[in-house]
């Protein structure tokens, strides 16, 4: 026994955390369920504390870079109270703006103006919708052991196909939207499929190929936007025609709130992906290949094909993600239609630990942070970039639970670090 145990001194705890990635079919009975719950609880606690820790560090950054605080600190020894009040002012106004911009506008709520009160929440969800689906685009290949850095490129390429069908064809409402969305998903799947195919066929590492495909897609879109058949008539700048109402997601709560039906589609996508991963043989194959490719191969699974399928699914999600903007928020294709959603999606997927429902919550959190960040920038002049810093810190802490537990002096739980991708050699 000792030889085997010695390599892995705490095997029970280690493997338990992994269970969150590969949940068994039913809640297991008896003692194991209790352990599982407590570990799950510990994970939730670590996740929550990671957010707290990130907000604290972000707060420090906001404070020490604030012009008000800096100028008050200049005469700190004369009037130290000024410095502290400036710190409090800066921090409270920034984070209050962040909160109100993300969730609910309190003053409008007290005035009873519901549309204005819930405008922030609508914005958060609007921003979160593509983030969630793009997060799935990264998460699903993750489950097969692939690190898809190419959601950005897949969304970009999908914008070409989906956008063209959206503005160029004349189809009845509903059908037109469906056609445009499906075309986007196909385009996204193709672009991701290239990386999957190259990986399966030649072993070219997906991290490199997807990054390169990102740039290639970017310039393809830029070229397309300058072509007569794609550019809006009478315009010299790279912009497509506006999508007609037939190919646009309807708004959910009227025109004053931007949140549209794309969010419902995103929820459905989360559910479908959860079902595929946890209830189908395809999902079983994807999980097996991701957890141990050589065992999968030995069990007769076609690893290469599973990689390709996982990338196709991911790419389709990336395609779906961009429709949230093309057919929803923006209603037009521009060079900036994807923004940086494809990159943010990586942090979303990591924060969501590559599980569809985890991705849903992570997407909502980051969407809220971004919506709040915009308000914070407008109201307090705190640059929106702080949101990126917060995102990075949160994921970093969650990836290293041992660090968070050390900071907060928590005992127990798992110290298994996040491990999803594979090295160059496999």
């Amino acid at each position: 026994m000792s030889e085997e145990r010695s390599e892995n001194p705490t095997p029970i705890l280690d493997s338990r955390t992994r269970d969150t990635l590969h949940p068994p079919a039913e809640p297991p009975p008896g003692t194991s369920a209790e352990i599982r719950r407590s570990v799950l609880g510990m994970n939730l606690l670590v996740s929550f504390l990671s957010v707290v820790l990130a907000l604290v560090i972000g707060g420090v950054l906001i404070v020490i870079s604030s012009p008000e605080v800096l100028s008050a600190a200049f005469y700190f020894f004369d009037r130290p109270a000024d410095t502290f009040s400036a710190i409090w002012q800066t921090l409270s106004s920034a984070y209050s703006a962040l909160f109100q911009g993300a969730i609910v506008n309190l003053s409008a709520l007290s005035e009873g103006d519901l549309a204005r009160a819930f405008y922030p929440m609508s914005e958060s969800i609007t921003i979160a919708s593509p983030l969630i689906v793009a997060g799935l685009a990264v998460a699903i290949p993750f489950r097969a052991g692939l690190f898809n850095i190419g959601a950005q490129g897949q969304m970009t390429f999908a914008a070409i196909g989906g956008g063209y069908v959206g503005f160029a064809l004349a189809l009845p409402a509903g059908l037109h939207l469906a056609a445009s969305v499906i075309m986007a998903m196909v385009f996204g799947a193709v672009w991701a499929g290239i990386a999957g195919f190259l990986k399966a066929r030649t072993g070219a590492h997906e991290v490199i190929t997807t990054i390169m495909l990102n740039y290639i897609a970017l310039y393809l879109l830029s070229w397309v936007l300058n072509q007569d058949w794609f550019q809006r008539e009478g315009r010299n700048d790279p912009i497509s025609p506006i999508l007609p109402d037939t190919s646009v997601f309807p708004n959910l709560f009227g025109l004053s709130l931007r949140v549209h039906a794309g969010f419902l589609v995103a929820l459905v996508a989360v559910g479908v992906m959860w079902w595929i991963l946890n209830r189908t043989t395809l999902g079983f194959r994807i999980n097996t290949v991701g957890a141990n490719a050589s065992a999968a191969r030995t069990a007769g699974m076609n690893v290469g094909r599973t990689w390709i399928v996982a990338m196709l699914l991911g790419g389709a999600m990336a395609g779906l993600a961009v429709t949230m903007n093309v057919n929803g928020t923006d209603k037009v294709v521009t060079a900036g239609v994807v923004g940086a959603i494809g990159f943010d999606a990586i942090t979303v997927a990591l924060l969501g630990r590559a599980s569809p429902f985890g991705v849903l919550w992570a997407g909502l959190l980051f969407g809220a942070l971004r919506a709040g960040g915009l308000t914070m920038q407008a109201q307090t002049g705190t640059p929106i970039d702080i949101v990126l810093v917060l995102q990075a810190l949160i994921v970093l802490f969650i990836a290293a639970p041992a660090l968070v537990r050390a900071v907060f002096r928590i005992r127990g739980g798992s110290s298994e670090a996040m491990s999803l991708a594979k090295g160059w050699n496999g």
């Binding site: 390599e7 870079s65 290639i216 970039d385 990075a392 970093l396 160059w424």
Partner: protein
Amino acid sequence: MSAAMTAVPEAPAIAPVSPRRPLAMVAIAVFLGGLFTWLAPAGQVTTFIFNLGQQFFEIPDWSVNSRTAAAAFALIAVLAALAAWPLHMRRRSVLWPSAIMGAALIMSFLSWVASDESLPVTGLLQGSLLLAVPLVFGAMAGVLCERSGVININIEGQLLAGAFMGAVIGSLTVNVYLGLLAAPLAGALIGVLLATFATRYFVDQVVVGVVLNVLVIGLTGFLYSRFLSEDPDRWNNPPRLPNITIPVLSEIPVVGPVMFEQNLIVYLMYVTVILVQLGLFSTRWGLRVRAVGEHPDAAASVGIRVNSVRFRTVVLGAAVAGLGGAFFTLGSVGAFGREMTAGNGFIALAAVIFGRWTPLGSLGAALLFGFAYNLQNVLSIIGSPIPSQFLLMAPYLVTLIAVVGLVGKVRAPAADGIPFRKSA
């Protein structure tokens, strides 16, 4: 053993060689060479200019019929591909024929796209070297980290941190050399984060790298908005490094202006490459770094502290990348801009893989990518029949093809990306 026994015959330990690779090379040479020849207008002249400034002697401009030149270079490419065939079948390296074929195809391509124009060859190469500088530093950073067993997907962030800190310290102190000193320190700081999470908390190295990139982009962006764009004169107005002309060497035609009329960072780049090459392969330090990246258990069993070797190597590598980042600001435009590294870190990473995790190979790959970048610049100036977006795409396409075509033949350090945990 008695004479009555017979030995089992030794196995003929070799598989038959497949001619797929040289076949593909010939096919590519014939197809591309033929395409360029066909596209090159027969009646027009392409002029290659070699002179730039004053050297020992002048190489006369070379004007030639576009189609003839394209055809001639295409022929050289095909011959090189054919020469690779017997070499490959005898399991010899086809590096040289491949390089010659590539160069000839590029010349054939240039004969076509620069028809009726003058192509400043020396200027093209000089610019290529400049654009390759951050790639080379980034690639050296990648080689260092990955040889020690830590995947460095964070090169982009390290470059960006170096660019930022170089500009800020250069501005605040109004001293370009202090800026140049600050840049590697900034890179190293990011390296400390990468190394800590990778070797202390055993977090997946690709994940940490990606997340740290986001962190650096966010931090530099945040500070940029708060300080640099608020008061650019104070925060973002660094002096630029002067060009240093090396006597004698700079007088050599073509080579002189390309290599020896550059600023300090470029010369530091030469030194860095030589040091990394020598250090990794000829010193005790390098032996240990490589041992840790190939077989950490073996290194640990002779008393080498694996994670601390990795830690130091990662920090050193990140410092090298940080120094390279200074090129974006102090070495070229001066002022810092948001996300100004624009993906150079990822191209550098591709150069590491393309260069098979060797310093010299990665140098070659980085130079090639630099050339692809600058070709686009030059062609957009002289005007070319290809839409600019496709030229912009070129470096990435080249990388994609290079990585796809090479993988399977290359082997990363055996323990690259695998955290080392002591058994207790």
